[in-house]
């Protein structure tokens, strides 16, 4: 590992230093900025009790399920709107109006209809992943070059073959960018929904409980965990999309 790849660690380390400094000023500082040693101890504690893993797993599972639903539904809906003008005229106004409502704005309505259980949270996560998938699929299918379509016609490919072999692969770079956005939205709303619909397991629920018990250090552990997991997931996604898009010239 060379020095360049460590450069990304400079700012986090500085932040940690400032945090520790703030925690040593006075009692109020020590309450808001929990000393790092205490955070470390909390980390060991929630890991040891299994609390962290159970809640992390619940959040991750919901994120992945919601993401998968959002991706499949988003590609389907985006493709339908891109390939059929009547479908687009029918769906587009409603879709673009609905996506103006922030995800958090849906929570009261969804809670009213679906309660505050897992299905309500899953719906929120899926919806959050759906929007970027629809937009990216739609745009990238619309932008497939006419010359690709012509070449496909000359080779006498059927409509289904054109979609599977030409249009979707041509749109894949845009769709992959959509997945990366959808992943971020899914993770954020997965944890966010737990803060608002406090029931069951999840990192958000763990944070709410810690707040109720004035356990600042556990909240910090959760925040670190959320950041780290999100970072890891988008890194994995980037690796996967690089593999799938290896046919593209390197720039």
């Amino acid at each position: 590992m060379n020095l360049k790849s460590l450069r990304g660690l400079v700012l986090p380390l500085l932040l940690l230093g400032a945090w520790e400094y703030a925690s040593r000023q006075d009692a109020a500082g020590a309450y808001a900025f929990v000393p790092l040693a205490q955070v470390g101890a909390a980390w060991v504690e929630v890991l040891g009790s299994g609390e962290l893993l159970v809640n992390l797993w619940a959040s991750l599972l919901r994120t992945c399920t919601g993401l998968a639903l959002g991706i499949v539904g988003g590609i389907g809906l985006g493709a339908l709107m891109a390939l059929s003008a009547p479908a687009n005229r029918l769906i587009a106004p409603l879709f673009h109006a609905l996506r103006q409502v922030p995800m958090l704005g849906w929570i009261p309505l969804i809670a009213l209809c679906f309660g505050n259980g897992e299905s309500a949270k899953l719906l929120i996560v899926s919806l959050a992943a759906l929007y970027p998938m629809v937009l990216n699929t739609f745009e990238s299918l619309r932008q497939v070059e006419g010359q690709h379509r012509e070449a496909a016609r000359v080779l006498m490919l059927s409509r289904a073959q054109q979609l599977r072999l030409i249009l979707l692969p041509a749109a894949l770079p845009g769709i992959a960018a959509g997945v990366l956005q959808a992943l971020a939205f899914a993770w954020v709303t997965s944890v966010g929904s737990e803060l608002f619909l406090s029931s069951g397991a999840g990192l958000g629920s763990l944070m709410m409980n810690a707040e109720a018990g004035a356990r600042m250090e556990i909240i910090v552990v959760c925040v670190l965990c959320i950041g780290l997991c999100g970072y890891l997931m988008s890194w994995l996604c980037t690796l996967l999309s690089r593999r799938l898009l290896r046919w593209r010239p390197t720039r």
Binding site: H148, E150, L155, L157, S158, A170, W247
Partner: protein
């Protein structure tokens, strides 16, 4: 060389193309613009026909009509006495840009042309390998288009157009985007491939020398509206010498006609 000289393309039995009273107009700002007017053209099976003319003479449009990408025209296009309706595998086309699909390897690109044939997979594999070898790209089967040079990509496009054994091969300025050296080399290759495959070829080009070097006939077109001005028969056996005095004489004449009014 002898073997090639004997395999004259006139032995081909399919691929007679007959164009009768063909006219085509576009609507340009609401006004009809005639791009092709009363085109009459009879092409023998296995003939190599070059079409030259100033830009805007509708020569590329003519190819698009023959390949079936555009079906709004007046007149008739007959292939072996049958009217042409839309694209078909008996007509292959190579465009100026190679139009390979960037997400497929060279092999997959060429195999795609055989997608809807009902032949055994091993037969398909053999055809694909044969045509990759025909255009001199053996060893590059797994390369993606962006890894190929312009000339190699264009060879691959030619292989893709030929793998269906089309009766007619349409070439729309196939070498127009290549550098001069690659172009000369690919002209020789085209000649060799055509002599070997013996299909009817119609090539649109800007390059008079190229048209003369390859064509049994050179059709000269005029613009506004696009129409045939002259139909030259080049009676020289293939393979030809690039610097033959006959070709030089034709070249001077055509240059004078097309440029120096």
């Amino acid at each position: 060389m002898n073997a090639i000289a004997h395999a004259l393309p006139t032995t081909a039995t399919h691929g007679a193309l007959s164009i009768r009273g063909l006219s085509k107009s576009y609507a340009l700002k609401g006004k009809p613009m005639q791009v092709l007017k009363d085109i009459e053209l009879n092409i023998q099976p296995g003939e190599f026909v070059s079409i030259v003319g100033a830009s805007g003479c509708g020569k590329s449009t003519l190819l698009r009509l023959i390949v079936g990408l555009d079906q709004a025209y007046q007149g008739q296009i007959l292939l072996d006495q049958q009217p042409v309706h839309g694209p078909g595998l008996e007509r292959g086309i190579v465009f100026q840009d190679h139009r390979l699909f960037p997400w497929m390897t060279l092999q997959q690109n060429i195999a795609l042309a055989l997608k809807n044939h009902t032949m055994p997979a091993t037969h398909k594999d053999r055809l694909v390998a044969e045509h990759i070898a025909l255009v001199g790209l053996s060893g590059y089967e797994q390369a993606y288009p962006h890894q190929l040079s312009g000339g190699m990509a264009q060879r691959a496009a030619i292989a893709r157009a030929l793998v269906n054994k089309p009766k007619v091969l349409l070439l729309d300025e196939p070498l127009g985007a290549l550098d001069a050296l690659t172009r000369v080399r690919l002209q020789q290759e085209l000649q060799r491939i055509w002599v070997q495959e013996r299909c009817t070829v119609i090539m649109v080009t800007h390059d008079i020398e190229e048209a003369l070097y390859l064509g049994d006939r050179v059709i000269v077109m005029d613009a506004h509206p696009g129409r045939i001005r002259e139909d030259l028969r080049i009676d020289l056996p293939h393979p030809r010498e690039r610097d033959s005095t006959v070709l030089q004489a034709y070249k001077q004449r055509l240059l004078g006609e097309l440029v120096g009014h």
